[in-house]
Symmetry: C2
């Protein structure tokens, strides 16, 4: 039995994961940022204890604790050097959890963990070259090449969201211009629609979002695009075009067997994957397209928990 | 002792390579395309024989023959599925050379071989994560991740020239728009300058090229840019900006320790690498820049011969 923990910017989810990669119990708590590292660490410990108690499992039978966390993780020590979501610097979460429970603990970047989970249990390790692209508020990802997760020199490899699709394009939160994330990340897309409305656009999008623009998401924008809304049509066609170009760029470079798409924007829209795939097929090289599969993730929100529980 | 052969679109170079990676004798012949595969194969065999005879080396002491060739190479069989330069399809060059000499023979993509050679003997295998970018008439490259050359699912991985830097940018020979190669490949740059001249531009570039635009190359264009030529200034600044953005895109994605730059455009210009590095440093993420080295290749034209002789 293993424990997987997904530490996000707003919530922490812990799950008890069996040897077949099935989550047999999970629990979530909100992140209270003002508690700082030491308070949140205590919350994580308490959460793991609840999971164990409710699952009727003793700490002694736990083989491993895996933690998925956004941010840059130091090679070797697995210290969280910087997590923008949590505003942590040099957080020794792996060491602290490992010492507290006296169980082998492993910390991995959250999107890498999700891609690893999808690879190991979604694809059952049958494919050796996989690119995972997770589109939520931002765009994250992971690269598996020849059956191994790419980490890079400083452990920050696999940042598919920050390939550049237009050096003079939209400003990205990373400080650069024209990143994949700035074109296709959910929060950026929603912001562009809201800007259009602020500038006076009066289409159906407000109605489609249920009258409340605070709850506007990619699914609404796609729906408005399908219904012929001008603003959403212009913005969503750009998303499709850049998503297709971004995948083509990665496919040309890395020649994967599977492009695995996941995240809220992918799971919350109906046609995006198929439309982006068409653009990608027009743009990628013939030799790289041969046998290429484009698939949606199969594990949903559990991917990071499951991946973290198993990655070594 | 090993043999390395570099089969290009216009010339074939064969070299005798000792165990330290030094080319101790080499010879080149032109490619006569009308001879077709079987004629050129015979030329390659004859060239290898000359190299052996002149080096005073017996076939029996040759450990391996390595062949570098542009194009797509089938996994396993190493058959040349398609070589655009040579117009070969399904050419069994590895099998034919191996049978003729009865020496273990290995065929690899030419730029992958060059990157491998630079990695093994230029960098002496001290770096485990390397991106090689070779800028000649086009842009080619190779990726070493965790000490292994990336091949991908269909053996066409590492095509750094066909990452997309602008989905609505210049047309690329691959059929797509806005590839790295279309912005930074030597033949594309020269063509843009020639187009400007055809359209009536009368600057100093013709004089700098020695009066003959047929011999125009990137070095001339950089020189004109330094001297304040308008047309070349506009075109060359774009090259610098897109080269910097292209490297930043690859660095963000793959987090290498070394970016290795080679090829005619790199070796034939004075400031390009330094100027592109500055752009890259402004665009890449801080975590990916830490400890990153940007270097020029050390083996020059011999990189592919040496790499081919050693790659397995």
């Amino acid at each position: 039995m293993r424990i997987g923990v997904d530490v996000g910017g707003t919530k922490i989810v812990a799950g008890l994961v069996d040897d077949s990669g099935t989550v047999i119990g999970k629990k979530r708590i909100p992140v209270v940022q003002k508690k700082g590292y030491s308070g949140i660490k205590k919350d994580i410990i308490a959460l793991i204890k609840v999971i164990l108690r409710e699952g009727g499992v003793s700490e002694k039978t736990i083989e491993k604790i895996g933690i998925a966390c956004a941010g840059q993780i130091e090679k070797g020590t697995q210290k969280i050097l910087f997590s923008p979501n949590l505003r942590w610097r040099n957080a020794p979460l792996k060491r602290d959890i490992e010492r507290y429970f006296n169980v082998r603990t492993f910390l991995e970047n959250d999107v890498n963990a999700a891609v690893y989970g999808e690879w190991k249990f979604g694809l059952k390790e049958t494919k050796k070259d996989v690119i995972g692209i997770f589109i939520g508020t931002g765009v994250g990802g992971g690269i598996i090449t020849n059956g191994t997760l790419l980490h890079g020199f400083s452990n920050v490899g696999g940042e598919v969201g920050h390939i550049i699709l237009n050096p003079y394009g939209y400003r990205c939160h990373c400080g650069n211009y024209g990143c994949f994330e700035a074109y296709c990340g959910g929060s950026y897309i929603v912001e562009r629609v809201k800007n259009g409305i602020r500038e006076g656009y009066r289409g159906r999008i407000r109605e489609i979002a249920g009258g409340d623009l605070n709850s506007l998401h990619a699914g609404h924008i796609e729906e408005a695009y399908m219904l012929g809304d001008d603003l959403c049509g212009r913005i969503w066609r750009e998303v499709i075009e850049y998503l297709g170009a971004g995948i083509a760029s990665l496919v040309n470079l890395l020649n994967p067997e599977v492009v695995l798409l996941g995240g809220g924007v992918v799971y919350g829209t109906k046609y995006l994957v198929d439309e982006a795939r068409k653009v990608m097929e027009e743009r990628a090289m013939e030799a790289s397209l041969k046998g290429l599969l484009v698939e949606k993730g199969r594990l949903g929100d559990d991917a990071a928990i499951i991946g973290a529980a198993f990655i070594e």
